[in-house]
Symmetry: C2
Subunit: 467 residues, 2 copies
């Protein structure tokens, strides 16, 4: 019989307390999007502050950002060892529609091994796992690497003050690797590591015709209808199979290597099943790329919204004064939001549109795409730990969504971010009846202990840890 | 010194009473669009009933239509003379925005020779002129033609029950010519006669994608965005200069004759001035037709409304579940609404749109275009009278808007409709502070006396008058 390591015994001993702490944390309605809850976000920051202190971390502090605060804490007593920055967030999504919750969102309930509450899965349940792991290791004497914690309170609203905060706190946050405790596994039985996230560039097109809506009988034949002009612009963006026709749009896209394509092709994916679930006749997109390539490794240009003229019941025979479209491009490495917006501007300028005025405005909230090498030491370490935990190696995936923080850490701190988080996509993130698997909490605690050990052995660096 | 004819003296003697009657009539808020005012529309019908009786007409009656009623009255004692049906309406538009009225819309006020009230110009002021004219002639002994009055109470809502009513009452309404007391002159100094009105065919296009809005990060690359598919459809309808590309769309359009084009070219029209007034950089439309030809004698296909996805402030990165457009085609002789809708259906069906579902639904309220020969005896008679009244001959025009009744009279009664009405476009029809020029009332009364006389001399027919 093998003797359990000290940290594992510690985690087991304190299991009930960790769960009780999560319940307490989940009772705080730290909704960052609603100004009425700004005080609750601050309360959650304070709760995290005390939790880090209890775990034995040093320099614990709540830092102002201009928006919701950030909580920092570190342990830097491993000279010549690398420094790992662990990231997560204590703010949560709003709860509406409230009527669809089976139990109140801030009154956590445990049913069949799941804990139900807003924020359970995204991200409170996850972010406490590395804290418990570090506490357990510190109880045993120390950490195999230097650790810094950075928990923020505005992830759910797009981290508007994070870029400036990171730029200002480069020295405090210097590290060799970021590990993100915010993210998903493929399923409860299958791990994954996201190597990339798409970036985002968004803009609005406004087409203006006559100063006011006009009678289509009196003026139909002499006015360029803004809806017609806008449709011409919007239809010019894609060919019939969905390829983007904006000149220069694909210029900075890194081609998928043969190896990348093999990786992606190995992932289970059934087009018919997805089409059934989304209730579309068939999937759509440039056929020279497989669906998972198109989601993770190819950029898109989506008309998220468009509107002009009369949209009520029945009919109003008008030529509208104006029409608008909101467009969001998902970008992949090495595309840059500003270059994409410029290419779109040039494209639209080349379309002859007499009789109307066209304006393109960037919508704030762009994100640079993120991609890290599959053979990075951090990925190897995480993959090794995940295989130990799940008994099967992780898929190496590219996520179609956007997490601005990863590219920001790379830019401001020069460090890659490894996603290491234990939520599953079925846990109703951002929806009613959000839950977290309690086994994921324990898997996460053990995973973080093993990951920090592995990184201590394998990760280069050690310069960042000297303050 | 010439002696004034008896009818002219009669009109002068009763001038104040006619004005007082109009004021009384205008106090009735007979808004056909608002069900709360249905009783007021009925009250207006009753008022018209009594007014026709007072004028000396026979067979006066309020007739049910299934919607708002119709008022009928006749005088058929001129054997071997033609029968003229005089048309107008006693229902009115709603009054909002009420705050913009300088005096209450149902409390008529006379300022500087104008009478201000909702319905003053459209159409209560106009429709009373032929009644006064007939009363004056009857006071003198009789009419030069047989006359039937048909006043309806649902013109402002598109006369939904009129087609069926006309079909049912063909015998009662049989006539040689219709004269419409609903319409406009070019200006207070310049008469015009509308030879044509455009028809109308309207439809809605619905494009459906996934069952619900989807995250553009998670599914961007595998879904056909309904906004994108709809834009492709909408952009396919026109070329860059506004010509309609729907196969067969122009098939039934009657070409403008050389004479038609000369007529239209003689009308005063300044493109730059219209562009300035509508505040567009320039007018737009197929350059091989002049602007007035494009408004009056060429069909259009206008996207009156379109919408799909997120249209609020800021941004929501979604692929929407669906997108819609409402389209209205203005038609010219001899186009038919049903053939146009069928051509659009064929056109859309030919566009490959995988991954979405497209549906086209006709929107009720179609109208057949109307055009009458410029050399018709009714036009000659009206032109002659207008030249007498104004001292200058009328423009012969084609109106870009739609009046369903004209084509209906032609179809059901086999009779053309001559527009003979004395409102002016600056009188705020359908807008706050609607007014009617009191001089137009008197001009209209005199005009109708002269027109009936002229028609008695020149119009063929006489068969319709024998009941």
């Amino acid at each position: 019989m093998t003797v359990k390591p000290e940290w594992e015994a510690y985690l087991q001993t304190h299991r009930e307390r960790f769960l009780a702490e999560l319940v307490e944390f989940l009772r705080i309605p730290s909704i960052s999007a609603l100004s009425a809850h700004a005080g609750d976000v601050a309360r959650a920051a304070s709760w995290v502050f005390h939790r880090l202190q209890k775990a034995g971390l040093h320099h614990v502090q709540v830092l102002a950002t201009g928006g919701h605060p950030v909580v920092y804490g570190d342990w830097l007593l491993a000279p010549d060892k690398p420094t790992v920055l662990i990231y997560g967030h204590f703010d949560i999504q709003p709860v509406d529609p409230l009527a669809q919750w089976e139990s109140p969102p801030f009154d956590p309930v445990i049913r069949a091994g799941h804990i139900y509450a807003r924020g359970a899965s995204d991200d409170k349940g996850n972010m406490l796992s590395p804290v418990a792991a570090v506490e357990a290791l510190l109880a045993g004497g120390g950490l195999p690497v230097n650790v810094k914690f950075l928990f923020e309170g505005q992830e759910e609203i797009g981290s508007p003050q994070l870029p400036e905060f990171l730029a200002r706190q480069r020295d405090l946050l210097a590290c060799d690797l970021v590990v993100s405790a915010d993210g998903l596994q493929w399923s409860p039985d299958q791990p994954k590591i996201d190597l990339g996230f798409r970036g985002i560039a968004a803009f609005q097109i406004d087409v203006r015709g006559p100063a006011a809506d006009q009678h289509s009988g009196l003026y139909g034949g002499v006015l360029h209808n803004p809806n017609q002009a806008l449709s011409r612009i919007l239809a010019s963006f894609h060919d019939a199979q969905g390829r983007i026709l904006v000149e220069g749009f694909y210029d900075d896209v890194l081609d998928l290597s043969a190896e990348d394509r093999i990786h992606l092709a190995e992932l289970p994916f059934e087009a018919d099943r997805l089409a059934d679930r989304l209730q579309v006749p068939e999937l759509f997109g440039p056929p020279e790329y497989a669906p998972l390539e198109r989601i993770g490794a190819r950029p898109t240009l989506e008309i998220c919204g468009m509107g002009g003229g009369f949209q009520g019941e029945g009919m109003k025979s008008i030529i509208p004064a104006c029409a608008q479209a909101k467009i969001s491009c998902r970008l992949v490495a090495d595309q840059r939001p500003e270059r994409i917006i410029a290419a779109v501007r040039r494209h639209v300028k080349r379309i002859p549109l007499p009789g109307v005025r066209v304006e393109i405005r960037e919508i704030p909230g762009s994100a640079v795409p993120y991609l890290m090498p599959a053979d990075h030491a951090g990925i190897r370490a995480a993959a090794n730990v995940l295989e130990t935990l799940y008994g099967t190696p992780p898929y190496l995936t590219r996520e179609g969504g956007s997490i601005a923080a990863c590219a920001l850490f790379l830019k401001e701190l020069g460090a890659y971010t490894v996603s290491f988080s234990f939520s599953c996509a079925d846990e109703n993130l951002h929806a009613p009846n959000e839950f977290f698997r309690i086994e994921s909490m324990e898997r996460g605690q053990k995973g973080y202990v093993l990951l920090l050990m592995k990184l201590g052995e394998e990760l280069g660096g050690g310069t960042a840890s000297s303050e």
